[in-house]
């Protein structure tokens, strides 16, 4: 006779409500883990999007994501001529704020040369950029649709293609435009400022500046060897793809990652305390029944089994509710929530351990119940 099951069945409504409450809490824990993972994935997405092996940036910087970097655009020609380099392209990154459908829209604008590395990794709908000006490929999360027209800076762009999962480390959705348009957007002065500069005689400088040059290497080339060749130029720095990703994780999103990690840990502790309190309360409510069981001769293992089984049932059902809930609504979060099987399994195991530890409090209380309590009123 399974006493835990009979007790749960007897008070099923109350038990399931408790499970739902716990499920919501564990759902929040799971969401935080998903946001934590999403933060890392988002940070790496933009760096991985060009599918390159080497980043050439301004000397003494760790650009273009962790630090500002500006280099002449013609570096791509020099880079393309290096032994082992298959192709190279200039690239720019900047954040702009514009308006769409009457609402503010923050965008992470990526400028690239359509025939060179640096463009969107995939086109879900529409096409890639074919004209040299005023066309844009937008991420789905911008809310833009094919054919939409959007004013960015002093130009109006047409959305000709859609891509997905392309956001900055801050969560702003990305749009891709040509390098020429991006340079104009980033480096051109406003007409009044140009007039002032002309009056001062300070005009005519080159506009061909990029934030980085990205290079795709030949299959047998060593990224580190090519990077070393670039470093010998003295006026540029070279970062391998692997190093770039490490910079992003350890520098750019590190604080946010640690913040969310700490918050997740705190939530786990709160969950553990709540599970312990629920199980303790459930045990205390059964003091008279436990005393009766002891009095009629039930061994401790019967009583411990009842408490531990109920604790595990509570935790696992609550966890299942939380996991199902978050899996169902994760797409509605403003930032990406990445939940992988290993994360879910790990939290499931943590919940089992927490339940076992929490049930210890209830078991301790149960073992202290005096069987004589069953006698008298």
């Amino acid at each position: 006779m399974n006493l835990a099951y009979r007790d749960i069945r007897h008070g099923f409504g109350r038990f399931i409500l408790t499970c739902i409450g716990l499920g919501l809490l564990l759902g929040v824990v799971l969401a935080m883990i998903g946001i934590y993972r999403g933060l890392v994935v988002d940070a790496l997405t933009i760096a991985r999007a060009p599918a390159v092996d080497l980043w050439i940036v301004e000397a003494n910087t760790r650009g273009p994501f962790a630090e500002a970097s500006r280099i002449p655009g013609d570096v791509r020609e020099a880079a393309a001529r290096l032994a082992g380099v298959e192709s190279a392209g200039g690239i720019t990154y900047q954040t702009v704020e514009t308006e769409h459908m009457g609402a503010k829209l923050r965008l992470y604008v990526i400028g690239y040369e359509p025939t060179r590395p640096g463009g969107p990794p995939e086109i879900l709908a529409g096409r890639g950029i074919a004209r040299s000006h005023d066309e844009m490929v937008a991420d789905q999360s911008t809310g833009l649709a094919l054919g939409d027209r959007l004013r960015v800076g002093r130009n109006t762009f047409s959305v000709v293609g859609m891509t997905r999962h392309q956001v900055s480390s801050g969560g702003d959705p990305a749009v891709y435009i040509t390098l020429a348009d991006a340079q104009k957007l980033q480096f051109d002065l406003a007409p009044p400022a140009v007039r002032i500069q002309q009056a001062r005689g300070a005009v005519g400088g080159s506009r061909d500046t990029v934030n980085a040059v990205v290079a795709r290497l030949q299959p047998n080339a060593s990224p580190e060897a090519v990077a070393e060749a670039v470093r010998r130029w003295k006026h540029q720095a070279a970062i391998t793809q692997e190093a770039q990703e490490q910079i992003l994780i350890s520098s750019l999103v590190d604080r946010a990652r640690r913040q969310i990690g700490l918050f997740t840990s705190l939530l786990l502790v709160v969950s553990a305390v709540i599970i312990a309190l629920i199980i303790y309360t459930m045990t205390i409510e059964k003091t008279k029944q436990i005393a009766t069981l002891k009095l009629i001769g039930a061994p401790d293992r019967t009583i411990i089994g009842m408490i531990v089984q109920q604790a595990l049932a509570l935790g696992l059902i609550g966890f299942s509710i939380g996991a199902t809930l978050i899996a169902s609504i994760s797409g509605y979060f403003p930032r990406r929530v990445v939940l992988e099987a290993d994360n879910i399994l790990a939290l499931g195991l943590v919940v089992v351990v927490v339940c076992l530890m929490a049930s210890g409090l209830g078991v301790r209380a149960a073992l202290r119940v005096d069987p004589a309590t069953a006698l008298g009123s």
């Binding site: 006779m1 001769g297 061994p299």
Partner: protein
């Protein structure tokens, strides 16, 4: 436990004493209490509140240590000079003692049959056999028609009969009852006492009842009155 002999007491208490606390806070709950209870006897433990009735019942029920004294069940010593001679008192209770409470204390999440079958299953009885025996006992106590009812749906008298069935499940020779009729009216109290009499006679058992309930005094074969921890 050795086989019962009619001329041997089923429960023998010798010079049982129990005190709580020490020094100025010491309270002597029992002082050198000796009594014998024989098979087929219905025995009452009477006395005012605080006289030591429940303390004595707890010691006979092996749920409270005595400070000194000895006790034997059916000729076998289980307590000597205040020390238990059995290591597993819960098992001793499971097989030898049936308890009946004032408020029946049925497990609220088990139906009447399972409340009785639980005790049998704790004694390693197979589930099917346990349920069969439980139904047999409920029928014996004329509450078989309520076998599937949950305790909350039973009347006071029905619940007390189920509790008696549970107390009898493992065929104990000693039945201890704490105010079993306190929550019942005269008619139902009489029915419960008749049942206890029937059990004592048919199962060759000794029934010890702690009670204040004067309306059932006539049912007892012997009455022990306690005052200030002593037998009066």
């Amino acid at each position: 436990m050795a086989g019962a002999m009619a001329d041997h007491p089923l429960v023998r208490c010798e010079r049982i004493s129990k005190h709580f606390g020490e020094g100025e806070t010491r309270v002597d709950a029992l002082r050198n209490v000796s009594l014998d209870v024989y098979p087929r006897q219905l025995v009452a433990l009477l006395g005012p509140s605080g006289s030591g009735k429940t303390t004595l019942l707890n010691i006979i029920g092996c749920i409270l240590d005595a400070s000194s004294g000895s006790m034997a069940f059916d000729g076998e010593t289980v307590l000597s000079e205040g020390r238990w001679l059995k290591s597993n008192l819960r098992q001793l209770r499971l097989y030898n003692i049936g308890f009946i409470f004032q408020f029946h204390n049925l497990i609220p999440f088990l139906d009447a049959t399972d409340n009785v079958a639980l005790v049998l299953q704790l004694a390693e009885e197979e589930a099917g056999a346990a349920r069969a025996r439980a139904v047999e006992l409920l029928d014996y106590l004329e509450v078989g028609h309520r076998r599937n009812a949950m305790p909350a749906k039973l009347s006071g008298g029905e619940a007390q009969r189920v509790a008696i069935a549970r107390a009898l499940a493992n065929r104990p020779r000693i039945i201890l009852a704490d105010e079993p009729t306190a929550a019942l009216d005269s008619k139902r109290a009489g029915i419960v006492m008749d049942l206890l009499r029937k059990v004592a006679v048919e199962q060759d058992a000794a029934v010890i009842v702690v009670t204040h309930d004067e309306k059932i005094f006539d049912w007892f074969d012997r009455k022990f009155t306690l005052r200030d921890g002593r037998l009066a």
